[in-house]
Each structure stands twice: as structure tokens, then as C-alpha cells.
Amino acid sequence: MRQRQRPRHIQALTAASPPDDAAEPGPARSASQLPAALTVVGFVALGLLALPIVGLLQRTPWSSLPTLLGESEVLEALRLSLVVSVAATAACVVLGLPLAFVLARRRLRSPRVARAVVMLPMVLPPVVAGTALLFALGRRGLVGQWLDTWFGVSLPFTTAGAVVAAAFVALPFFVVTVEAALRQAGDDLDEAAATLGAGPWATVVHVVLPTIRPALAAGAALSWARALGEFGATLTFAGNFPGRTRTLPLETYLALERNPEAAVAISLVLMAVALAVLVTLRDRWMPR
């Protein structure tokens, strides 16, 4: 047990420090050592993932693309999607970072239950997640009714509601990524910092956060991507109204009913935006 943990731990620390990790035995991972079957199935899997995207590209009406995307509804949905997904990611960072710290560093009475609760939105069908949010934060919901009577705030059918729905489904992606990084980094550095006289806040800000910076970026990117594509929970909790809650995925769904070509064009934009961001982030921030 100890033997297995130790080298991984050291490796994590070296990987987190400046990216030119010469210590990493790169050439040792050459293809010759990989069983042929793994390679074959691996590439088949990659092909399966890429195939639908190729299908989409092949059906893309390239010539009418500018007209289809220039429609005011599409631009409106794009703008709203960016606002909602960025706001949801911000919420994920603000709420998810402390949660990841609690999960990784605090002795919880039942850590497994806590971790399962964090993962639930990942497995919950988004429509159910949306319904659950209605039960909790809707106008007649558990907490929502008090929000309504005390503050006159009603989340469903508002942009804020769309942000809540997106953040709810995206939060686990951030927490899980950051928690794993915190565990991998271990608390040796924290202790060292404490010995040198750093307070808890200083340790977090100057030691821990810089160490897990790649994971922070990865977690934020994942949760952002999830928020951008969010459909079911948004529709159920926030409804569908142009400019207010009709995000790109909802617009795509509606477009599929009136003009499939437009739906393809919008999906293409959605994919291009996500791909651009993820590739950029990967190159700049994430360990390769």
C-alpha cells in the first residue's frame, strides 16, 4: 500500500512543478510495450467518439453557414449561453474550491457519503436534476418558497435559474478534479509552510493553490464545458424563453424541429467553441 502510494506522490509533485519534467520517463512509454489488442481497441474507441462528429461535419451546410448562424435567435442564444456558462463556472469555482478542500483535508465522519453526494449530479438524469431543483428552489419549493416570500426572489424562468441549473450539474466536475489534485499533492508542503511560519490562509494561497493550478484550470474547463452543453436541467428548472433562458442547446433542439440544417450549424459552433477552449487550455495549463 505504502509502496504504491509513495512514487505516485513524488511524481505528482514533480509534475506540478515547472512543466519541463525531464524526470518523467517519456520514451519508456513507447508503443512497443503496449499490448497490440489495447492499441487496436483504443483506436477503435477513438474512432467511435469521432464518428458522430464526422457525421455532423459531413452534413454541415457550409455555404449557408453564415446565414444560418447570423439569425438573431442564434446570436441571442450564443450570447446567453456564454453568459450562463461563464457565470456557472464562476459559481463552481467559488463553491467548489472550499468543498474540494473540505473533502480532501478535513476528517469527515462519512467521507464516502459526502463524496457520493458530490457525484450525484453526474449520474442523475439532467431532467430529474431540474425537477429536483424545482422541488428545492422553485416558487413552491422547500427553500424557494421562503426566497419568494422574504426576498421576492423566484429562480425558475430566469437567467439566474439557468445559471443555477448549469452550476448544479457542472459542480461535481470541478470538485472531483480539484479534490484529486489536493490528495495527490498531499499535505507535506502545507506542513513545511506551517513550520516556516505561514498561517492557514497564506498556506492555501501561496503554497497549495499554485501547486494544484493545472487541476484548477482543468476542473474549471470541464465544468464550463458541461455547463455550456447543459440542456435537461435548464429546460426543466429554468424553462425556455428567448434571450432569458433559451441557451444554445435549447435553441439547437428547437431548430431541429423547424430546420435541421440550422441545428447542425449551431451544434458546430458549440463544438468549435468548446474545442477551441479545451485545446487552448490543454496546451497552456494542463499537464500533458
Binding site: L235, G239, N240, F241, L256
Partner: protein, 303 residues
Amino acid sequence: MGCVALVWAVRERSEQERETRKQRRITTWVDSVPMTAVSVTGRCHRGPTGLRAAAVVSAAVAMLVSGCGDTADDGAGRDVVVMAASSLTDVIETVFEGRDSVTPVIAGSSTLVAQLAAGAGADVLITANSATMEQAVSEGSVHGEPVLIAVNVLVLATPAGNPGGVTGLADLGRGDLLTGLCAAEVPCGTLARQALDEAGIAPSADTLELNVRALATKLSLGELDAGLVYATDARMAGLATVDAPELSDHVNGYYIASVSAEPPPHIQAVIEDFTVLGSVGAKALYAYGFLGSDRRPVWPVPA
């Protein structure tokens, strides 16, 4: 080494098991193909020896991609796939309860029509208005002649107890109420828009739901104060209704049609479950509050 041997033994055994299972599946599959269907499937499978191998392959393919594509295997061994509009959810459940040979697919009519056009494998289509059925006919995804099986009316619905104090259709234009409609892309939305336009009411909807069920649910949860849903959905969701005489002229016809021009008997039987007077489907439609087809809109003859 011993470990490897064990793995091998296990693999051998499961291989054998799989073989016997496969045999069993073939026999049941081949046995269940009636004489009429064999001629149809004959396009896929050549000769008696080839038939077995092809059956294995097609069974495997069926498991992978649900169906051997649009080269049509109408064999009775396959489930009859019935695509039905979401407002028919309960009717479909009642009619096909306990019938394993029928697989219902429930979604908004326009979604279903789009799926059919994209090559989804289905045998029967039931839409919630004539426009979507017309589209399916014109796109060539439905070949049987559509038959009107029921009509549904729109009602002005509120949560039980009418907490928003809604008094008439004009209240849908009130900004202080939370109101909802179906999106214009689905039949209940098209109908609602027609009715509101004719009544000269500009709705201030807060949400345009993608299907009538979702709208009814939001009303029943009290998240919305008013909305236009079908009478049947209002009834199912336990909603209160407010008199709105402007709506009475606006009805949607429910149409059923077979995907193939000459459906085999077992598919024809499923269609007759709805079209024949006193059939199980007709009874269920009546039980859930659909109106009979006496207000029969004239079916546009497909060109």
C-alpha cells in the same frame, strides 16, 4: 500459469454457453418468423443455410444498432415500434401494458417526425396534429394512409385552487403572472398561438415548453400561474381550468399511420387497436378525455 489456465477454462465454458444460447436464439427467431414475413426478410438472407448465419448476424447487428437498417426486416420477431405524441403517454401505457411485443416511443410529434425522417426504425406513427402527420407523409417517412383517431381541445389551465386569480384568456397577457405556453414548434404551441392571435391577445409568456407534459407539470407544481394545455393533460395533472370560450374552436386531430404502405398483419393489428370502434385504444382515448372524431377535420389528401 495456473491463473492463465483458469482464465482459459472459464473462457471455454462461457464460449460453450454462448454457443448454446446463440442456437436457442436462432431457433426462436427463425420459428417466430411467419410465412408472410419470410418473403420480406428473404432479401436479407439467402438460402436456408445462409438464413441461420444471417440470423445470427442480424441478431447481433440488431443488438448493436437496433435493426438491420431501412432494408426493412418486418419480421414479427422484432417488436412493433409505436411512435406516439407525448400527450398520448397515458393512453399508450394503458393500451400496451403487459404487451412485450410493442415498444412505445413517446416524444413531441415534431421530434418523432424528425426522427423518422432521419431513419429511426418505427412501424406506427401517431401525431398530435395534422400538420406533423402531413410532414411525415410528404417526407416519405410514412406510407400508410393517416386515420383520425381522436381530437383534443386546448384549455386555460391553472394550478389547483387558481392561486394567481386567473379569470380569462386575456390574463395570459398580464405581466405580473407567471405564464407558460408550448413552443411554437410543437402542435400544442401552434394551436395556442392561433387561438391567441384570433382572440387578439399578446401573451407575455415566461416559458415556451418543448412539450405539453412539461408545461402541465410546471402548472401542477405551482411554478406557473396559467398556461394553455390540452384538456386531457389538464385532467391528468389535476389542474383547474378557467372558462375560455375563445379556445373552443381550436382542436387538434390525432392521426395514426403505418410507416410501411402494406403493414404485415401484426402491425395492422396494432393500428386497428386505435382505429376500430370499441377497440382497446378507442376506449383508452375516451377514458382519458379525448373527444371522438365527430368533429373530424378533413384529411388533406397526400399528393
